[in-house]
Symmetry: C2
Subunit: 438 residues, 2 copies
C-alpha cells in the first residue's frame, strides 16, 4: 500500500495487529499515544490536520486503558487505540469549534453519542481535526484555522469537509478517525488522501452532539487506512455486533462517472480496474439527483444558520457566507419538489439493486486540485471544483444509501478512490466486497 | 334545528330515516334523486352550489340502486342516498373542473378512491359542487363559475373552499356531501352554513384522485346536516366498521379563540354554551402554529402550480394568482423551519391531551362576511377576512388532528359553529361527544 512521504507510525500497523500487541504486552496504549503525539508534532505544522491536540487528555485516557487491560478489563478491538475526531463533533470538556470563529471558545459539556461509544470501546481520543467551516464545503481548505493539506502533496487540497480526519489517518498520525458526510464529506477526503471512508446508511449512527449541516442528509462515518480497520470502527460507531459473512463475489454494476459529471480518464481507469467483472448499468434521471441535493442541502443549511448570518456575518469565512446567502434564495416550493423527486428516485434506484448487489464508480472524478482552486480542467472541459468534487458522492447521500470509498492507486502522483454503493443496511456487504476486489 | 329559508326536502329527514323508508318500500332511490334535482332546480340559481348536475347519471344510479334493493342486494346505510361531491374530486366520465378555467373541459377516466367507496356503498352521485378555485381560499367566492352563496343570506359568503358542498347540504338539496380540508375547507363552510363538517385525522381517507392543494395537509371529509349522518358518511369514506361506543361525557378543554385571533363575543358565547363543563386550557406557542401553516401550505401549493403559473397565468382567478405569486416567495429554509416547528408543536399539544379527551373552540371567529369581503371588523378590531376564517381551524390541520364542526346556533341571523378537536384517530370520539353536547 502506498504511503505518503514521511508518514507516521500508524501507516505500518493495522488496528488488529496493534490490538494483538497490546494484549501480548509487546506494546501499551501509552506507547501508541506517544507515537500519535510525536507524529502530530512532526507532521502537523505542514499538514494542518488538527485544530486541537489534547495531549494531557490522551495520555490520561491511555493510562486508564493500560490499567484496565492490566487488570483484565478488555473493552474490545479499539481498547487503547488512538482516534481523532472531526471538530464538528462534541467532545466533553474539549474545545469544539466547527471550524468557525463563531465557536472559537466553545467547550461542550457532553460527548456526542458517537464519541461516547468510542470511549466506551476504550478508544483514546487524541484531538480534534480540521473541518471545512461548519462542514459547508468539499474542499477542506476554508476553516478558521486554515486549510488542511494533502499528505501526498501539501500544495494539494485534502478534500473535505472531514479534511483533518482524512489527513491524520493518511499521514499515519492516528489509525482511526471520525468524520461526517453530508454530500461526500467522508468519502471525498478519503479518496483524495488515499484511505478508506464509509458513509453509512442514513440514520445508522446517531447524530446527537454533531453540529448539523443538513439534518436530512448528515451521516457520521469512519475514516481508516484499511478496510478491516474500517469494519472495526464502523461496528463500534453503529453499536452493531459482527454480522454474517457476505458472499465474496457480489454482482457489481458499473456506473459511468459521466452519468453525473465529466471525469479524468486515468481516474476512471484506476477505479474500473478494481472491479473488472462489473457490468455497465445506467442510472436514469441522474441530473435530478444532483439538483435534489442542491435544494435540500441549501435550505437545510440556511435554516441552521439564519440567525447567525443576521447577527454576526463577519465571523463567517467569506466564501461560506456567500454560499449561505445563495442558499437563502432556494424557494420552499423547490424544496417540496426536491423531496418529491427524491421519493421517485428511490423507487427507480431500488430497481437497479434488483440485478446488482452493489454499484461502483470513482469517488471523485479527478485527483485533488491545488489548495484554494475553485476552477480547473478535466480533459478539455472547464470545471467548477466544488461541483466536481461532490458530483459522484452526493447522489447516494440524497438516496440515504451506504457508500464506501477505497484507495484505487495514484494518478499524477495523487491518490484516487473507487466508490461502492449498497442498498440500505449494506455496510457489511460493502466492507466484505472491498476486501475481495480485483 | 334551524333551516334556511325555502330549504329543500333533505332538511326534514335524517339519512337513517330515509334508509328505513327505502327498505320499508315507502320511498325509492329514484324518489330521493328527484327530490334532489327538484331542489337544485329551484335553489341553485340563487345559491350556486353546483358546477355540474348529473341528472342522467344520477337517475341511472338511482334506478340501479332501486333494482338492487328490490333484488335483495343491500349495500348498507348509504344505499340509494343522494350525495354531492366537491369539484376537486375526480368522478369517472363526469367533468371535474377544480373550480378553474385550466380544467374547464377535464373529464377524468377514473373515480377518486373516496368516490369509488361511495358508489360501492350504493350512494348516488348527483353532481359536482363549487370549490374555491383549486381549493386555494377559505371564502368560497372565487371560482370559474362564480361564488357559492350562503343559504341563510345569499349576500353572505358560504365559506370555503368546500363551498358548494356545504351549501347543497345546508339548503337541503342533498343530505350528504364530500369536501376537502387543508386549513379548514370542510369546517369553515360547515360552520358558516350551519351544518356538520368533519376533518379526519391526516391520511385517514385516501386522497387518490383528489387534486392536491398541500399534500402535507390535505384531507377528505364529510359534510352533513346531523352528527348521525356524518358518522354514516365518515365510516364509508374511511372504510371502517362500527367502533365501540365512546364515553358520553369526555373531559373537554376550552381553548379561548383569542389564543389565535380576535373573536366576536356572541360567536364565542354561542360555542361555549354547548360545552358548559369544559375547563379552560392554554395552548402554548399558538402563533407558531399559524406561521407553520403559511409556510407549508404556500410552498406545497406553488409546487403544484409552478408550471401552470408560468404557462397560462391568465387562466387563473386574479386573486388566486396573486396568492400563488406570494407563495412562490416562501424560502426553502422557512419550509424546513416550519417542519421542525411542527414536530415540536406535536409534542406540546400531545401533553394537552393527557388531561383532556377533546379540545373545544369556535370554528370561525365571526359569522359569514359578505361575498367578496376581504376586510372586516370584529368589535373594534380591523381584520383580514381570510386570516380570520382560517385562524381557528388551520392550527389543527398543521398538527394532523381530527376536528369536527357542529352548529352552535345563530349570530346576527347567520349560523356559527363549535369545533371539537381530538387526538389522532379520535373521529368516533368526536362524533359521540357531539351527540351529547350541552
Amino acid at each position: 500500500m502506498t504511503r505518503p512521504p514521511g508518514a507516521g507510525f500508524f501507516t505500518e500497523h493495522t488496528v488488529a495487529e496493534l490490538a494483538d500487541e497490546l494484549r501480548g504486552g509487546r506494546r501499551s496504549p501509552t506507547d501508541l499515544v506517544e507515537h500519535a503525539l510525536a507524529a502530530a508534532a512532526r507532521l502537523d505544522p505542514s499538514l494542518n490536520a488538527f485544530v486541537t491536540l489534547d495531549e494531557a487528555g490522551a495520555r490520561g485516557a491511555a493510562r486508564r486503558a493500560a490499567d484496565e487491560l492490566a487488570a483484565g478489563r478488555d473493552r474490545g478491538p479499539l481498547h487503547g487505540i488512538p482516534v481523532a475526531v472531526k471538530d464538528l463533533v462534541d467532545t466533553a470538556g474539549l474545545r469544539t469549534t466547527m471550524g468557525s470563529r463563531h465557536f472559537a471558545d466553545n467547550v461542550p459539556e457532553r460527548d456526542a453519542e458517537c464519541v461516547r461509544r468510542l470511549r466506551e470501546a476504550g478508544a483514546v481520543v487524541v484531538g480534534k481535526t480540521v473541518t471545512h467551516e461548519f462542514a459547508y464545503g468539499p474542499t477542506g481548505d476554508r476553516s478558521a484555522t486554515g486549510p488542511a493539506r494533502n499528505p501526498y502533496r501539501p500544495a494539494a487540497m485534502s478534500g473535505g469537509s472531514s479534511a483533518g480526519s482524512a489527513v491524520a489517518v493518511a499521514a499515519g498520525i492516528v489509525p482511526l478517525a471520525v468524520g461526517t458526510d453530508t454530500g461526500g464529506s467522508v468519502r471525498i477526503p478519503a479518496a483524495c488522501c488515499g484511505i478508506v471512508g464509509l458513509r453509512p446508511t442514513f440514520g445508522a449512527i446517531p447524530g446527537d452532539g454533531v453540529f448539523p449541516l443538513s439534518p436530512t442528509l448528515d451521516a457520521v462515518g469512519p475514516l481508516t487506512r484499511t478496510v478491516a480497520d474500517c469494519r472495526l470502527l464502523w461496528r463500534v460507531l453503529a453499536d452493531t455486533g459482527p454480522e454474517p459473512d457476505e458472499p465474496p463475489r457480489p454482482r457489481i454494476g458499473w456506473v459511468a462517472p459521466e452519468t453525473f459529471h465529466p471525469a479524468d480518464d486515468a481516474v476512471t481507469r484506476a477505479a474500473r480496474a478494481l472491479v473488472p467483472h462489473a457490468e455497465d448499468v445506467a442510472v436514469p434521471n441522474a441530473g435530478t439527483l444532483l439538483s435534489i441535493y442542491g435544494a435540500i442541502h441549501g435550505s437545510d443549511a440556511y435554516a441552521i444558520h439564519a440567525e447567525r448570518v443576521a447577527r454576526a456575518p463577519e465571523l463567517f469565512d467569506e466564501e461560506v457566507l456567500a454560499r449561505l446567502r445563495a442558499a437563502e434564495e432556494v424557494r420552499g416550493w423547490e424544496y417540496v419538489r426536491a423531496l418529491e423527486d427524491r421519493r421517485r428516485a428511490l423507487d427507480t434506484i431500488g430497481s437497479l439493486f434488483a440485478d446488482h448487489d452493489l454499484l461502483a464508480l470513482p469517488t471523485v472524478p479527478l485527483p485533488a486540485p491545488p489548495v484554494g482552486a475553485r476552477t480547473g480542467r478535466i480533459g478539455d472541459t472547464e470545471i467548477d471544483v466544488r461541483t466536481a468534487l461532490l458530483s459522484l458522492t452526493s447522489p447516494w447521500s440524497v438516496l440515504g444509501l451506504p457508500a464506501l470509498s477505497v484507495p484505487a492507486g495514484m494518478v499524477d502522483g495523487l491518490p484516487v478512490g473507487l466508490q461502492l454503493v449498497a442498498p440500505p443496511g449494506g455496510e457489511e456487504l460493502l466492507l466484505s466486497a472491498a476486501e475481495h476486489l480485483g
